[in-house]
């Protein structure tokens, strides 16, 4: 049995199915992300895991113990809320110490552990500040410290970075991952940001409409999407019908599915191996996206996105004809038609 195990979990609100027969397994020390568009049920799943919301059916096991009916205060779960939910009347130290006081830890040990945490999250010098005096990023780190100091079995993060600016968000992603690894903390992160999910996760569960539609390592999910939904949600995949693909590469033997996906970054100017598919098209649009230059190519009448690194050369001009190669193993058949 895994460290955290969820079996056949269902939940309805006012007759609407929010979660449907979910199964989920998380190993000790893993950072698992629940990724999906808003309204897919990911936050509800997190709240059920914390005990703040009750499920309709299903079982939850943590560390081998059935906690399905255990109250939130006895589940040994740490949680960082989207709004941080810091206590406005307490200082940074007092916020972090709160959980330890509730668990009747001795004064001296509280002091020790709070100081340790403040150092870990880099808030030295802010001990006596009130939450309203901190920036968003600092508040987020207080929330993290407060939920970690009680040494919970599982840490839950509900879109913890969504309220922050892009620059700060990327910094905190890194810090978060570092701290999680250092403490070997079993962690569940909820987000709708696929870049964030790929940057920090050991494994990702992709959710849509209250179901898990695919799970695996970021690498697996990104390179082997099973459905059009995942292909479009996780990246900028070109999704082609079998008929379209047949038209541009008549000789390729394809599995009998309706749609195929090709990542825009797998196209290359030189063939790597003999069996590479050769495509020729006109450049219809060029967009510079920072480190990536994105070309929109018309191959026949089929528009295809191609990503290349943004190097120092001149960009190719609209209208130019371009020949590209793609390996047959980068043409991904999409098996699931639903979701």
């Amino acid at each position: 049995m895994s460290y955290v195990q969820i079996e056949h979990l269902s939940k309805s609100f006012h007759g609407q199915h929010v979660l449907q027969q979910l199964d989920l397994a998380i190993e000790k020390g893993e950072l698992v992300t629940l990724l999906g568009p808003s309204g897919c049920g990911k936050s509800t799943l997190l709240r059920i895991l914390s005990g703040l919301t009750a499920s309709d059916t299903g079982m939850i096991y943590i560390d081998g113990k059935n906690v399905t009916d255990v109250s939130p205060k006895n589940r040994q779960i740490g949680m960082v809320f989207q709004s941080y939910a810091l206590f406005p009347n307490l200082t940074v130290s007092q916020n972090i110490a709160f959980g330890l006081e509730m668990n009747k830890i001795s004064k001296t040990e509280i002091q020790l552990r709070v100081q340790e945490m403040i150092e870990l999250v880099g808030l030295v010098g802010k001990e006596q500040a009130y939450p309203r005096e901190l920036s968003g990023g600092q508040q987020q780190r207080v929330a993290l410290a407060r939920s970690l100091v009680t040494r919970p079995k599982v840490l839950l993060l509900d879109e913890p970075l969504s309220a922050l600016d892009a620059q700060i968000r990327k910094n905190l992603q890194k810090q978060l991952r570092m701290i999680q690894r250092e403490l070997n903390m079993t962690t569940v992160l909820v987000t709708h940001d696929q870049e964030e999910a790929m940057a920090v996760s050991d494994r990702i569960y992709i959710m849509n409409g209250g179901r898990i539609v695919q799970h695996g390592s970021p690498q697996e999910i990104y390179t082997q999407p099973r459905s059009e939904f995942v292909a479009r949600f996780i990246g900028n995949y070109n999704v082609l019908t079998a008929e379209q693909l047949k038209r541009i590469t008549p000789n390729l033997s394809l599995p009998a599915v309706e749609r195929f996906a090709i990542r825009p970054e797998t196209f290359r100017e030189q063939p790597l191996a003999g069996e590479d598919i050769c495509l020729t098209g006109n450049i219809a649009q060029v967009t510079m996206l920072g480190n990536i230059t994105r070309y929109e190519l018309n191959i026949g009448d089929i528009p295809v996105l191609v990503d290349t690194l943004h190097l120092s050369f001149e960009q190719e001009q609209i209208g130019t004809t371009k020949t590209l190669y793609v390996s047959p193993k980068d043409v991904i058949p999409l098996y699931d038609t639903i979701a």
Binding site: S50, G51, L52, S71, P72, K73, N74, R75, I77, G78, M79, F81, S83, A85, L86, F87, P88, N89, L90, F98, G99, M102, N103, Y130, P131, R132, R146, S147, T150
Partner: protein, 262 residues
């Protein structure tokens, strides 16, 4: 900008309308004689001296104070936890409570008095207690609004959940987190409640009458006998209310909720 002139003007007119009577009352309370002249003929402190020497005034003031203070305390102790429970644990009941609040606005003192006399008179409970009970209901809208706004501003629900996940019981979370944060809001509502009760006249007059003479009843009696003394009472009242309003303004600024960035 020119646009400001409209609200400024209407604001100034409202202030004038409100403060002209106040100024007149103050002058009258200090006037020796003031009949046909624009300003009084002379100033004197004798009306205040007369008032403060009257034991009936001091007793009436004490009764008003006691009744208002005790009722407010009881109302806070009962209503605040109830509103907290509704906002945090049963937000769907809010609709019902709002209708209730609307109803208590719509039922005036005289009407309430009729019902209360019918139901509770002559069964041994002193009518002062019945009156206090009616006051309690009357305070519901004010305390409900104040408590509700404080709780929503501080996102009480998330804070309770956060505290619970950190191992706190409901009671610990309420006392350690919720109470300190709504304290100043509750204090403001309480002062408001106190001042409203302190000024109530109809209900206590009909239900209890002369058996429990409050400040308002004393004033009502004085109105017909001496305009100058009545004015002196009114001025005393204004001073008390000015102090309370000052406290309200001071405490409604002190708040732990996050300052909004413009």
């Amino acid at each position: 900008m020119k646009r400001i002139s409209l609200p400024s003007l209407s604001f100034a007119l409202v202030m004038l309308y409100l403060f002209l009577p106040v100024a007149a009352t103050i002058l009258y309370s200090l006037a020796t004689e003031w009949n046909s002249t624009v300003l009084p003929e002379g100033l004197t402190g004798k009306w205040f001296a007369e008032l403060y020497a009257d034991p009936r005034f001091l007793q009436a003031f004490g009764r008003s104070f006691l009744l208002s203070f005790l009722t407010t305390v009881v109302a806070v102790v009962i209503i605040v936890p109830a509103v907290f429970s509704i906002i945090v644990y049963a937000p769907r009941m809010e609709r019902l409570v709002q209708i209730l609040v609307m109803l208590t606005y719509a039922v005036p003192g005289v009407i309430m008095a009729v019902g209360l006399i019918r139901t509770y008179s002559g069964n041994g409970i002193p009518m002062v207690i019945i009156t206090a009970g009616a006051y309690l209901v009357g305070l519901l809208p004010y305390l409900y609004q104040g408590t509700r706004n404080s709780l929503l501003a501080m996102q009480a629900r998330s804070l309770m959940e956060a505290a619970e996940l950190l191992g706190a019981s409901h009671w610990q979370a309420f006392v350690r987190i919720i109470v300190p944060n709504i304290m100043s809001g509750i204090f403001v509502s309480s002062l408001l409640s106190f001042s409203i009760l302190f000024g109530e006249f109809v209900l206590i007059n009909i239900l209890v009458g002369g058996r429990y003479e409050t400040l308002q009843m004393y004033l009502y009696a004085k109105l017909s006998s001496s305009g100058h003394v009545a004015s002196a009472i009114t001025v005393t009242y204004f001073v008390l209310m000015a102090i309370i309003t000052g406290l309200v303004v001071k405490f409604s600024r002190r708040s732990f909720t996050r300052k909004e960035v413009p």
